[in-house]
């Protein structure tokens, strides 16, 4: 066993408390009409901009139910999640890796290099949590205000110990790992055979 393999094995062992096999995040999700959405949720989205083309989804999870608004605003793809009472849970949007602060990106890159022999980003999302007015300002200015908590959710293809899998890793605003989930992909036998 060479040195690289030993380092990777130890890294994976140390991080194993963070890693959970992603059971499906939800049991089902489906499109719903705007009329079914709590008014407070609709009001929040409308306060971002009045001309958004919004698609609403209902997600039924193992323990909870939520509503999600998906839309494009200022050339970014947003997902905003609410609970069944219309209380905002979080705001996330897709970004490119160059939009991560360089010092934070370097820390993320070093951490991924220690975890995987090879890795490749599939999707990067930035998460905002905070007060409604700060969130709306941050979204419209394309920059988080001081009171906003920022985190990054990265989906990547990672190869470790000869095995390539899909992972979803959450980093805080300092580039430290908060959570790792292995993504279980859906069966495709009805498409393959």
């Amino acid at each position: 066993m060479n040195t690289t393999t030993i380092i990777l094995s130890i890294s994976l062992l140390l991080l194993s408390p963070f890693v959970s096999k992603a059971q499906q995040k939800y049991e089902s999700e489906y499109r719903v009409k705007t009329e079914m959405i709590p008014q407070s949720a609709s009001r929040f989205i409308n306060s971002i901009a009045s001309d958004l083309k919004i698609k609403w989804y209902k997600e039924i999870g193992l323990d909870d139910v939520s509503f999600e608004a998906k839309f494009k605003h200022k050339k970014k793809k947003f997902s905003v999640e609410f609970d069944t009472l219309g209380i905002l849970q979080d705001v996330e949007f897709v970004i490119k890796k160059r939009e991560i602060i360089p010092s934070v990106y370097n820390r993320i890159e070093k951490k991924l290099d220690s975890l995987y022999q090879k890795w490749k980003f599939q999707k990067i999302q930035m998460h905002y949590t905070g007060r409604h007015d700060s969130l709306i300002t941050s979204i419209n200015k394309n920059k988080p205000s001081d009171t906003i908590k920022v985190s990054y959710e990265i989906v990547l293809k990672g190869k470790a110990l000869g095995n390539t899998q899909l992972f979803e890793i959450t980093f805080n605003d300092q580039g430290e790992i908060q959570d790792i989930q292995q993504i279980v992909q859906d069966k495709a036998d009805h498409l393959e055979y």
Binding site: E29, Y30, R31, D186, A188, D189, H190, L191, E192, Y193
Partner: protein, 214 residues
């Protein structure tokens, strides 16, 4: 369904039913097996030489076994064999496939590049090169879940050589599917196959397909 009648070409249209059962089993993280039984039943024929005719005719049964090995996160290599049982003949086919998956927005696309060789005691060996793309479109959200419908569309081009004669076939297959539970899916579709048009003997065969995946 088309009928072309002129002095230079003739064509044939046939319609039938194509039920299939597909059983897939994952052996471990790298290997899986697929067993399939499919049969063909003609119910209608129309050609330039014959009048339209509703008539039942059993055509054949195919039994296949395929073994797949993952070559990457979204790709696999597959080898298999098929036995074709017709009323008066049996043929054997060897199959090689490379399958990989891509995504456009929330649509899954599966690409299949395949070669196969069909051996029969009363016909020359047929060699084929095929490319198929299958698209899955969930109808209730962005992701396919249990108890949801989906639309599946396959399109395939098949190049064949038999006895030094080349033929080209196109297939267009739209399907509506339903996810019964995590193990079972059922589909209803229309498998349209157009071939033999290179030598002016256009043949269109349309199958009403019923597919059960377990």
């Amino acid at each position: 369904m088309s009928t072309i009648k002129n002095g230079y070409s003739q064509s044939q249209t046939r319609v039938g039913i194509l039920p299939s059962i597909n059983y897939n089993h994952k052996i471990n993280k790298d290997w899986d097996v697929n067993f399939k039984y499919e049969s063909r039943h003609f119910v209608f024929e129309n050609s330039t030489t014959q009048k339209r005719n509703f008539k039942y005719e059993y055509s054949l049964s195919d039994i296949s076994a395929l073994v797949g090995r993952k070559t990457g996160l979204n790709s696999k290599f597959v080898l298999g064999v098929l036995t074709r049982i017709e009323p008066d003949a049996v043929a054997y086919r060897t199959i090689q496939q490379f399958i990989f998956q891509t995504k456009i927005k929330s649509f899954r696309l599966v690409h299949r590049i395949a070669t196969d060789q069909t051996f029969s005691s009363n016909e020359a060996t047929e060699f084929r090169l095929r490319y198929r793309v299958s698209a899955e479109i969930p109808l209730s959200g962005q992701k396919l879940d249990v108890k949801e419908f989906y639309f599946k569309f396959n399109t395939e081009v098949l190049n064949g050589v038999q006895d030094n004669v080349y033929d080209l076939e196109f297939r267009l297959v739209p399907n509506i599917g339903y996810v019964i539970n995590k193990q079972h899916k059922i589909e209803l579709g229309l498998d349209n196959r157009l071939d033999s048009f290179i030598d002016n003997q256009t043949r269109l065969v349309s199958w009403i397909t019923v597919n059960w995946f377990l």
